[in-house]
């Protein structure tokens, strides 16, 4: 298993290099430059040219890229053009907020999605099934910017139960976690339902019932265990995706996380910050996939990575 994890981590290196090269090329091809953007309305052409020279932004592209890679290999992702701080500092500062948001959204999606999927599968075509699948459909269909504003309007403005935005305590995370996790809960519920329904058609489930086992052990010990693998895959990928930042949720609820950092970097053509954000996000996705693969081995003893 250790060997497997090590090989997967090694294979991440060319992926990260490829991603950084694509970002570099794209940012050099699209119009707009970070220095001009710093000035916004107060354009001083001579000052802009002077700053471009002083920041070595007029060096050939390949020199700038290799300079970035060399520094990155030494753990230095540079200074953000827009936020004037080391990229590493900005990402490490923003990440805990995204981590809390992502984990709370993920936990919400699991504790709601999996039981909803199980109940829907066990009571197929019942009112409970229609309710939970409707709930799942809403979660998957409603855009976060809409559901977020709706929640703020009802629970903050009208009822006054929760604050509108910010992240100064546990109560500030309740709405964003639900809004963000709802979509993931919907996906997990639907996948759990369909996977469980498929497994429950199998002979060994009929045999378990015929042996006299009560329904709960049949579902949890036999059926769920064999149907959970695809759900675990989705859960791991969703967590990795959430960890790389949920820009709309962070914007609507005023949470200064990785998503806002990354989108701000794109808008301001902030090459160091964008490279750092994308490489960080890619790394998290790779880790998420590795965790999913490792989880398979624990869930299904037939899967081995030797």
């Amino acid at each position: 298993m250790a060997k497997f994890i090590f090989k997967r981590l090694l294979s991440a290196i060319p992926i990260l290099l490829g991603v950084s090269l694509i970002i570099f090329i794209l940012l050099n091809v699209v119009p707009g430059d970070p220095i001009t953007l710093m000035f916004k309305e107060h354009i001083y052409p001579e000052v802009i040219e002077r700053l471009r020279r002083e920041m070595h932004l007029d060096d050939p592209a390949y020199i700038r890229y290799f300079r970035f890679i060399w520094d990155a290999l030494h753990g230095n992702f540079g200074i953000s053009y827009k936020l004037n701080r080391p990229v590493t500092y900005l990402l490490l500062n923003a990440f805990p907020r995204t981590l809390v948001l992502a984990l709370s959204a993920a936990v919400f999606s699991w504790i709601v999605g999996i039981p909803a999927g199980i109940l829907s599968a066990v009571k197929q075509y019942s009112i409970e099934d229609y309710f939970f699948m409707g709930f799942a459909l809403c979660g998957v269909s409603m855009p976060v910017f809409w559901s977020g504003l709706l929640f703020q309007y009802i629970f903050a403005l009208k009822l006054g139960w929760l604050p509108v935005a910010g992240y100064a305590g546990v109560k500030y995370y309740i709405m964003p976690a639900i809004v963000l996790g709802w979509s993931s809960a919907g996906t997990i519920a639907r996948l759990t339902r369909s996977s469980l329904l498929e497994v429950m058609q199998n002979d060994y489930i009929r045999t378990a019932r015929a042996k006299g086992l009560r329904e709960l052990p049949v579902i949890f010990r036999h059926a769920l265990k064999n149907s959970i693998l695809p759900v675990v895959t989705i859960m791991a990928i969703q967590v990795a995706s959430l960890l790389s930042g949920s820009i709309i949720t962070e914007s609507v609820f005023g949470i200064p996380g990785i998503g806002r950092i990354a989108v701000g970097a794109i808008q301001s053509r902030d090459m160091p910050l964008l490279q750092g954000s994308v490489i960080f996000a890619t790394f998290l996705v790779i880790i998420g996939n590795i965790i999913a693969d490792v989880a398979y081995a624990f869930i299904d003893p037939r899967i081995r990575y030797d």
């Binding site: 953007l37 309305e41 052409p45 900005l90 403005l157 935005a165 910010g166």
Partner: protein, 535 residues
């Protein structure tokens, strides 16, 4: 079994207590007077006003300049002494001698001295600083040499004694005193700023000024907090703390205000909400309004055919019904502008002839110019911003035959293309940085800047006069020249279409007193006089 149940209930009670604690508001030991506002939709980058061209709210509250522009009436300002208690200007307009106030303290306890003024100007012009606002001091003798690395310091700044500093200009520059009131000309403490190095403006406790507040905390993309400075030379501020939140979403900003989580709502964020606040029984009495010393305008890019033909540009001026736009989109909260200098600016001419809406005349002009069937063109906007102005103008232009497509660009592409002089027509607003006509004429129509704003205005005679106007010492002669240039640029050359000057509306919570709109109508403003009175 009993032990297990006891453990289970203990855990449940503990969880319940933790939840209750999380929901309980934190009670402050002493009731602090805190003013909470929306600082911006994006992080401020830096609190160092030499290193930013737009993020001025915090610097305006933690620093002071030698002089200050005070609001004496809505849209009117006067230059008053700030860190300098008096000054003399030589008859030829070259030498400015400032006498500093004694006993002014920086946030670190150091006293303001003339050497700090020398240091501040040298720092701006030091190429190692990579300052963005060098244009604010580059008229000082020796400033350009310092910026080019040919000198170690700015020759024209001399410390005569501990509280007297003399600034000599390369040539007479009449806007100089007004310009010193602008945020980039804030004065820094030599000791603290040198020690802070590149952290000045980024780390709160290293960002030292003389202002009524000191920067105490900053969470990137979240909020910046300032606290009252007890030893401020004008007296301690009446609020203890100000918290500026970064809220990217406009609807969230509005809900934060209505939920009393912020104390002021800037209606520039969401102009569509203005009728709601004006008609609301709860909020109409809480609206604070002030004129903006600024002009909304349409840029016409003369390097793109057929806009190089003055008849086509004049046709554009006649084709737009500005009154309809002012009434429909901005609810009549403003006045039509007909020139370059807005109301409230020194030199404003209230007797300018109104630019008439006359679509028939527009069609005649286009026919005369060789476009009887009109032509195609573009208006550029920044994606994500509302383009209601352009959406109203589009059919007006179509009515006379000018078929415009609204082209959406992201902000970096927009500004980059504009700087290259290639942005097609666009609309924007310019509010005064300092109270002088030069801030408008030089910014848009000088040879140095006109291409970088995609106007590409090409009248060398006018452009020479704009430069000459800077050197005229007699105020009456200067103003007369600007008023003459205004008519030439707008009426004869039709170089832009001025739209209107809008009022700037804010809505404040009932507990907020003495909230005044800044003299120039900016969103960035000093909050020194604000009081919080909890009932």
């Amino acid at each position: 079994m009993n032990k297990r149940r006891f453990k289970f209930f203990s855990v449940m009670v503990l969880c319940l207590m933790l939840i209750l604690i999380a929901f309980c508001p934190i009670q402050a030991a002493n009731k602090e007077r805190v003013f909470t506002y929306i600082l911006d939709t994006e992080d401020q980058e830096t609190a160092d006003p030499q290193m930013t061209t737009w993020a001025y709210t915090i610097p305006m509250n933690i620093f002071d300049g030698l002089v200050r522009a005070d609001t004496i009436a809505p849209g009117q300002s006067d230059l008053v002494p700030a860190l300098a208690e008096s000054w003399e200007i030589s008859d030829d307009g070259l030498v400015y001698t400032f006498h500093l106030r004694k006993g002014v303290k920086f946030h670190n306890g150091e006293e303001l001295e003339a050497d700090d003024v020398l240091f501040t100007i040298n720092r701006m012009m030091d190429p190692k600083t990579k300052a963005l606002n060098t244009d604010f001091y580059d008229m000082i003798k020796g400033a350009k040499e310092c910026l080019n690395g040919e000198a170690d310091s700015v020759e024209g700044v001399k410390v005569l004694d501990d509280y007297t500093v003399q600034i000599t200009l390369e040539e007479a520059f009449s806007p100089f005193l007004a310009l010193l009131a602008a945020p980039p000309c804030a004065i820094f403490n030599r000791k603290a700023t040198t020690e802070a190095g590149s952290n000045f403006g980024l780390i709160p406790k290293k960002t030292i000024g003389t202002g009524p507040f000191k920067l105490t905390s900053w969470t990137v993309n979240e909020e910046m907090t300032v606290e009252a400075f007890d030893d401020y030379y004008r007296g301690r501020a009446k609020v203890d703390k100000m918290v500026g939140k970064i809220i990217p979403d406009i609807a969230t900003a509005r809900m934060l205000f209505e939920n009393a989580e912020v104390d002021v709502f800037d209606c520039d964020f969401a102009r569509s909400q203005i009728p709601y606040f004006l008609e609301s029984e709860k909020w109409s009495k809480q609206v604070v309004s002030g004129p903006r010393v600024g002009v909304f305008y349409y840029c016409i890019n003369e390097s793109i055919k057929p806009w190089d033909d003055v008849r086509v540009r004049k046709a554009f001026q006649c084709a737009v019904d500005r009154k309809i736009i002012l009434d429909k989109i901005y609810h009549g909260q403003g006045i039509l502008a007909n020139g370059i200098m807005p109301k409230g600016l020194v030199g404003y001419n209230p007797d300018l002839e109104e630019i008439q809406y006359d679509p028939e005349k527009a069609k005649e002009l286009l026919t005369e110019a060789g476009y009887p069937n009109g032509f195609d063109s573009e208006i550029a906007i920044i994606s994500g911003t509302t383009s209601t102005r352009d959406e109203l103008v589009q059919p007006m232009l179509a009515n006379v035959g000018i078929r415009v497509k609204i082209k959406s660009l992201d902000s970096a592409a927009y500004y980059g293309t504009r700087r290259e002089g290639k942005l097609p027509m666009y609309t924007n607003v310019w509010s005064a940085d300092f109270n002088d006509p030069d801030n408008f004429f030089y910014t848009f129509f000088s040879k140095k800047n006109t291409a970088a704003r995609s106007f590409n205005y090409n009248n060398p005679e006018v452009q020479d006069e704009i430069l000459r106007a800077r050197r005229i010492v007699d105020p009456k002669e200067r103003i007369a020249l600007y008023q003459e240039l205004e008519k030439k640029i707008v009426y004869e050359d039709a170089a832009w279409l001025p739209l209107f000057s809008l009022d700037h509306l804010f809505v404040v919570q009932p507990k907020v007193k003495n909230f005044k709109v800044a003299w120039n109508g900016w969103s960035s403003m000093p909050f020194y006089g604000i009081e919080i009175i909890d009932k």
